[in-house]
């Protein structure tokens, strides 16, 4: 999946890799390991990009309406993930299928998150974290807030209708590069 393309203009985002398939624990782990190696000389960016990747992929794994059984009794949500970057930013795009009702809830939640400044987001995260774990939810339900906090940029969500019952939900996260020289690496 890794490729080099030096023909891409310097100021255009350059794709590092894309993945479309079951978000199994093993896949999430492999992609996380890749981030740590790829950004090994920029620890600050590495920590942020890694933490955001885990939250995004776990959300896709838990909540995607389309799933694949990888091993016996191991069903994983199917999602799409694209990592790219340019001189100033890393871009992480993560998408999966959701029901119409989930799409509308997500849309509202993302609008609310984007309306809050850093301090208000921290407070909102604390409020959400203090709620009891929902029985249905395997995660803390605060992944998106954490993603927004770590990225320090608005979430860019889109919802594309898929038939009458579903939407393809996609969210692009932009992360300011902490160190400017990472583009030369690939």
């Amino acid at each position: 999946m890794l490729f080099e393309d030096t023909s891409i203009a310097y100021n255009q985002p350059q794709e590092v890799f894309s993945y479309n398939g079951p978000m199994s624990h093993t896949i999430i782990s492999e992609l996380g390991d890749f981030i740590k190696v790829w950004l090994s000389d920029d620890e600050k960016s590495s920590k942020k990009v890694f933490a955001i990747l885990i939250e995004l992929l776990q959300n896709a794994s838990y909540y995607s309406k389309s799933s694949i059984t990888v091993h016996e009794n191991q069903e994983h949500g199917v999602g799409r993930f694209i990592l790219s970057h340019d001189q100033d930013f890393f871009y992480m795009e993560c998408g999966n299928l959701v029901s119409t009702s989930t799409a509308s809830k997500l849309d509202q939640a993302i609008e609310h998150i984007n309306s809050l400044d850093h301090q208000a987001l921290r407070k909102y995260k604390r409020e959400q974290r203090d709620k009891p774990r929902e029985e249905e939810s395997k995660g803390a339900g605060i992944g998106l807030i954490q993603v927004a906090l770590l990225s320090s940029n608005p979430l860019q969500a889109s919802f594309t209708p898929k038939g009458n019952e579903y939407f393809f939900y996609s969210n692009t996260i932009r992360i300011n590069k902490q160190k400017a020289n990472t583009l030369e690496k690939i």
């Binding site: 624990h25 782990s29 920590k47 776990q58 921290r122 604390r126 974290r129 203090d130 395997k138 992944g143």
Partner: protein, 125 residues
Amino acid sequence: MDNLIIEEERDVFFIPSVKFDASTGVCEIAGESYLEDTVNFYKKLLSWLKEYKDLKKPLTFNFKLTYFNTSSSKGILDIMKLLKEFQNGTGATVSWHYPEDDEDNLEEAEDFIADTGLKMNLISY
């Protein structure tokens, strides 16, 4: 009372190292926390601490976590709530160690303090 020792593991999931010493009352959780069964992992830590609390002995607790996902952060919050009960009773010295240039990590600690009212030393390294 037995010590609680969990070896650090970094494979598909990241298990933090846990060293809870019942004889000295010095406890430490360190490393990265991203677990397959977050709820049960932190339940185990909580039940050890609850048992130790009944001994009414002093406690020193050190957090040295460099990464934890949001699911783990709920488990950490539960531990801090219990540590606050220690501080209201027999007492506990709690410290949070963080890499000096990691502002996100420091903010996490500040948010845990705001949530629990815990007295916690913030120590950069």
